[in-house]
Symmetry: C2
Subunit: 259 residues, 2 copies
């Protein structure tokens, strides 16, 4: 079976299976994006979380919370206030941690080239920790991730280590991050639609394909700040995928533009 | 010029340039790893940070700290205590945030296959947010990242929002994370050395190359917990690169093993 037929077969099987997540359905804020991707022959999503605020009760001995072993005191995909969190937090017996986790989306891609296009759109939309995985038999997956989290220890051995005023302050920040995450998802959706339209046009003129690839979907401006890009789909130079530009604290070497 | 010669040329240029980081040198905890990679013809590192505790003073209006615009009150690659942090924290006039950032390493790879091997080793060593970027002209970069961070808002408009006791508690956690990060770097170094040795043996017998690729470096056991792997270089099935296994809260579809 050729790769393309194999991909179609796996896509069909994958999408026909039951949703095995705890929630059992795709998060509301990411439904449209998931549908857009699954509606294209070159992609299908294998896991998604739109973004959430989590309150976890970790073991007191292990400093790193293993999500599968710890108690989930609260999970919400919507903004929340102190009165949502405090009752849950009072149930903690170990080391409770509040986390904001932005969008995580795993997309299987037919070809490396399909993953490259999607990766480029993800980076441009602010999901800078995205990356491709290529399996031993060529299975190509893009993980879409943001840098945009929050992880705050709140209690130790069941004892609250912060004030309620701090919880209030913290939730305002978490809610703002959730709002920003939602904007990035919308930006991603818009930019992806734009890129896929270009792809479709390109594929209608196969002779021009390579030329168009270099001059349209892949044309980038050296502009890294996703905040400045908004919904304009300004594509960026993401070849380096480095924290370089932001961060003079990292030991770096700069590449010339033309590599 | 063929790809291989082009890669060599860029590697030479890149490594001969001055270190443009704020610190101006490679972090001590990652020097050996960087040397190991740069000593191999198929890799070179373009940026690195071994892991650090950061205290940033962000603007009070923007909730997301832009590292290049904000004030760095403290940066350390070593464990620290309350008395290191408090004097720096008192200088905050905006919204100060304490972060622990684990290893970040960007490695340019000659071929996709070289990136796949390194990616596999990174995942197996606990750097689960690692991912490949393939540029428009085929430039292949692996970003090695961990899930293993901390981001804690501490003050608002210069006012400290937590107690000194909490700072003490928080730094214990940050220091533990730094210690665990160091272990992962060591594990990564050992596993990489092991994988590269196998590669060398494989390349000495070119006829067996493909067979060996499938049966040695790429042989994996379905074992995801990096804590359990220690330095044993148990390789894992990382094709999926999903948070699936850990996290029943994410909407997922599971792949069969043989894809």
């Amino acid at each position: 079976m050729d790769r393309s037929a194999e991909f179609r077969r796996w896509k069909a099987q994958c999408l026909s299976r039951a949703d095995l997540s705890r929630k059992g359905s795709v998060d509301e804020d990411v439904v449209e994006l998931v549908q857009l991707l699954n509606g294209r022959e070159q992609y299908f999503t294998t896991s998604s979380c739109a973004g959430r605020i989590l309150l976890l009760d970790g073991g007191i001995n292990g400093f790193e919370v293993q999500k599968q072993n710890c108690c989930w005191l609260l999970v919400t995909h919507k903004p929340c206030v102190k009165d949502d969190v405090m009752p849950a937090l009072r149930k903690a017996t170990g080391d409770a941690i509040l986390k904001f986790e932005p969008l995580i989306l795993h997309v299987q891609c037919r070809e490396l080239q399909d993953a490259q296009i999607l990766h480029s759109v993800a980076i441009d939309s602010g999901f800078r920790n995205s990356g491709i995985t290529v399996g031993k038999r060529g299975k190509t997956m893009l993980a879409i991730r943001s840098t945009h989290g929050l992880e705050v220890p709140l209690s130790h051995k069941g004892k609250l280590m912060v004030t309620e005023e701090y919880i209030d302050f913290l939730l305002q920040i978490a809610n703002q991050k959730m709002e920003e995450n939602k904007k990035r998802i919308e930006r991603f959706y818009n930019c992806l639609q734009h890129a896929l339209e270009k792809e479709t046009v390109t594929n209608s003129y196969p002779k021009k394909k390579i030329k168009d690839k270099n001059n349209s979907s892949y044309t980038r401006k050296k502009k890294r700040n996703p905040e400045a890009a908004h919904d304009k789909c300004i594509t960026e130079e993401n070849d380096e995928d480095c924290e370089n530009d932001d961060d003079p604290g990292i030991s770096i070497t700069i590449f010339p533009e033309d590599y």
